[in-house]
């Protein structure tokens, strides 16, 4: 390459124009969240001279050595990790809120209190048909409350399972895309805009995958990612151009077990982990609801069997069933309430057996158990809400730190625009000076 003023000026003008285009690209992508700021790498073109003793160098201007993309591995992995934790906390709280809403909105606690109040009213006039019918209706309302609470909990569990399944589908899709990106990265030329675009795509895929499940990523010299799920010791999801697939299985008790290519994996963060935790919590609440129903059934039936009805027959069972889904009132008529103790006569107004039933319901009975269930759920939500807010702040801070390194500042780009325009004009002047010198020299001869 011969060194002459014209060539040098031309190389400078070309470099300035390339830098201007890159600045324009940056400005156009200012709103693109997955875009890392690009700069043009410039290198001097200076060849060592020919075989001579003087060792002079030939200057040939500047060349664009490649598109440089700002890369900050640590900040990116921090942003991914905090995003994973936040997604887990949000998924878990979502499941718990659904369980709390199911039990609160079914009106279970007020229904238990209503049944106890109707029994207290019955104590004032045990043979009154209207009061007996009212007590029976309150018992029916109570069993329906149990049914609707159990159904809402089932719906909440189904919603969490559906979310987990769609999360798995998303993970598998991203893994396939990442494998394809790895393939492209192996083939693309270093320093080109294509490589920068592929690296952007790789980072965007990693960020959206990290929200689903906690990942550990390693990068090789050309930028290909090797992805492990669940931390640095977990199974490999993507290696080179191969992507394994993730599956989920449900164990009894509401435990979700994730596996990658057959190997079980324990996820510590990501919304899939949050959904597994939420499903466990909701199953626990459903179990406690069933225990509550069983307690009510046992106490109600025990008190009924020790008394006699106004007609003089032994008391029949008050409730049918054994859990919250199939609890039902077994008495057909209010006259079948056994309010009098065994041994009293027909149409007795003795309320001793009714008092036994009321005492069984009041002393550490269904009302206290329902209150405990609601309090456990609500204080769990309240505590996790505090954790979620802390994780939200950490995630926002990590994102802001990442953006401050790789984001586009419009003021800086405007200043660059001016700078490269000036460089272009200066190099144009250099070329003009070279042309004038050449013309002068031509006119001499």
């Amino acid at each position: 390459m011969s060194g002459s003023l014209l060539t040098i000026g031309r190389s400078g003008a070309l470099a300035a124009r390339a830098a201007l285009e890159l600045t324009g690209q940056n400005i156009a992508n200012a709103g693109n969240a997955g875009y890392a700021r690009r700069t043009l790498g410039l290198a001097e073109v200076a060849a060592a001279g020919g075989i001579g003793l003087t060792g002079s160098t030939v200057l040939s201007g500047v060349r664009a050595s490649g598109v440089e993309r700002t890369e900050v591995h640590f900040l990116r992995s921090e942003a991914r990790r905090s995003g994973s934790d936040l997604a887990r906390a949000q998924a878990e709280i979502g499941g718990l809120l659904a369980a709390e809403a199911a039990i609160e909105q079914s009106g279970l606690y007020p229904a238990i209190t209503g049944f106890e109040a109707s029994l207290a009213r019955l104590g004032s006039d045990p043979l009154n048909g209207a009061l007996r019918a009212d007590a029976l209706e309150q018992a029916r309302t109570l069993t329906q409350g149990f049914g609707s609470a159990a159904q809402s909990l089932d719906t909440a569990m189904d919603a969490v399972r559906a979310d987990a399944v769609s999360g798995i589908a998303e993970v598998n899709r991203i893994a396939t895309e990442l494998a394809r990106t790895n393939l492209g990265l192996a083939r693309v030329q270093d320093g080109s805009t294509g490589k920068a675009a592929l690296l952007d795509q790789r980072d965007a895929l990693l960020a959206s995958l990290a929200e689903q499940a906690g990942i550990a990523a390693e990068f090789d010299a050309v930028g290909r990612a090797t992805l492990r799920l669940g931390g640095a010791g977990g199974p490999v999801l993507v290696a080179g151009a191969d992507a394994a697939s993730m599956t989920v299985a449900e164990a009894p008790g509401g435990m979700l077990q994730y596996a990658v290519g057959g190997t079980a994996v324990q996820l510590g963060s990501g919304s899939l982990a949050g959904q597994a935790q939420a499903l466990q919590q909701i199953s626990g609440a459903a179990e406690q609801l069933d225990d509550l129903a069983a307690l009510l059934i046992a106490r109600g039936n025990a008190a009924q069997t020790t008394g006699i009805t106004p007609a003089g027959n032994a008391g029949a069972l008050l409730f049918d069933g054994d859990n919250a889904r199939n609890i039902a009132v077994a008495l057909g008529d209010g006259a079948d309430f056994a309010t009098a103790p065994a041994g009293s006569g027909v149409n007795s107004r003795d309320t001793d057996n009714l008092d036994v039933l009321r005492a069984a319901l009041a002393n550490d009975g269904p009302a206290a158990a329902a209150d405990r269930l609601l309090f456990t759920l609500s204080s769990a939500i309240s505590g996790r809400g505090v954790t979620r807010d802390v994780l939200l702040t950490l995630s926002d801070t990590a994102q802001a730190a990442l953006q401050s390194q790789t984001g586009i500042d419009l003021d800086a780009e405007a200043a660059n625009l001016l700078r490269f325009q000036q460089a272009f004009q200066a190099n144009g002047k250099v070329m003009q000076a070279a042309v004038e010198i050449f013309d002068t020299m031509l006119r001499i001869g």
Partner: protein
């Protein structure tokens, strides 16, 4: 080269996030003011929500207890009225017996007195079989049918139970529902229990016997006076018991009112909205939101591109 710069995307995200948070807070405060409730769901404040649940349950059960207390009071008042009527009749019987014990009365006069005593006995029996407002027998204890049944031969027997049972008034308090017939219609004089109704029947029959043995009839009448005095004493004692129970129910009702007021106050403290403080916070939040919106608009209108 690593620089710390202010990317415009991060600025927009941060600013809109902050303004959203302010607006959400303002909407939550406005919702509290509109409903008057500080707690929307239990997880907003678990301890206060548990407190509100138990206060609500206590309120509901206390309402039933208050109704039971007034029901018991009305039953006891009816019983007291019936006993007063029986007392007036017994005093009339005593007057008649005193008159019949007078030796100067003729057998026909004594027969008329005996008839009137029979009528008074029927009135006393009717009062003893009185019913309360719901149709249950007042003095039959825990049975529901009539307290005294009359057989074909005219004898009456008590058909109720021995105890009247207790009605729970809440908070571990209870009151006896009523009194049973034998409690005021049988007297113990000299160790033997006498049924007043049977005694009146015998007296009436004895006075109406058309025989010339007026001395025996006069003796029967004079010995009746002692038994009638005992019967009146028993009746007085029973009326005192009923009066004491009514006073006890009134005390319980006063305490129920006080407890209900205390519960309402605790309920307002736990879950109610302090209007003055909430309105002040809402004002402050709205001012902050207004200022941040203006600042954001100013800042985002500054651009170097306007100067190029």
């Amino acid at each position: 080269m690593s620089t710390i710069n202010n990317p415009s995307l991060a600025f927009h995200t941060r600013a809109t996030g902050q303004m959203n948070a302010l607006r959400r807070s303002a909407e939550q405060l406005q919702g509290q003011l509109a409903t008057g409730e500080r707690i929307g769901r239990s997880s907003d404040d678990p301890v206060a929500a548990a407190r509100l649940r138990s206060l609500g349950r206590a309120d509901r059960l206390a309402a039933v207890d208050a109704a039971n207390a007034s029901r018991a009071a009305s039953d006891l008042t009816l019983a007291g009225d019936a006993l007063e009527g029986i007392g007036a009749d017994l005093i009339r019987v005593r007057e008649l017996a005193l008159w019949a014990a007078n030796g100067a009365v003729s057998p026909e006069g004594r027969a008329v007195i005996g008839q009137e005593i029979g009528e008074l006995r029927t009135a006393i029996l009717a009062r003893a079989n009185a019913r309360d407002t719901f149709g249950n027998a007042l003095f039959a204890g825990q049975a529901s049918a009539a307290a005294y049944v009359t057989a074909a031969d005219g004898t009456t027997t008590y058909a109720g139970t021995a105890q009247a049972g207790e009605l729970s008034l809440g908070e571990g308090q209870s009151v006896g529902r009523g009194v049973t017939g034998p409690q005021f219609l049988s007297t113990a004089n000299g160790g033997t229990t006498t049924d007043v109704l049977a005694f009146l029947r015998n007296l009436s029959t004895a006075l109406q016997t058309p025989s010339g043995d007026s001395a025996a009839a006069a003796d029967a009448a004079s010995s009746a006076i002692g038994i009638l005095d005992d019967a009146l004493d028993t009746l007085n004692r029973t009326q005192t018991i009923i009066g004491a129970r009514l006073a006890w129910i009134e005390t319980v009702q006063d305490r129920q009112v006080t407890t209900t007021e205390a519960r309402a106050e605790q309920s307002a403290d736990a879950g109610g909205v302090d209007f003055a403080a909430t309105v002040a916070r809402l004002q402050q939040t709205l001012t902050a939101l207004d200022a941040s919106q203006t600042g954001f608009a100013r800042l985002s209108s500054l651009s170097l591109f306007d100067a190029i």
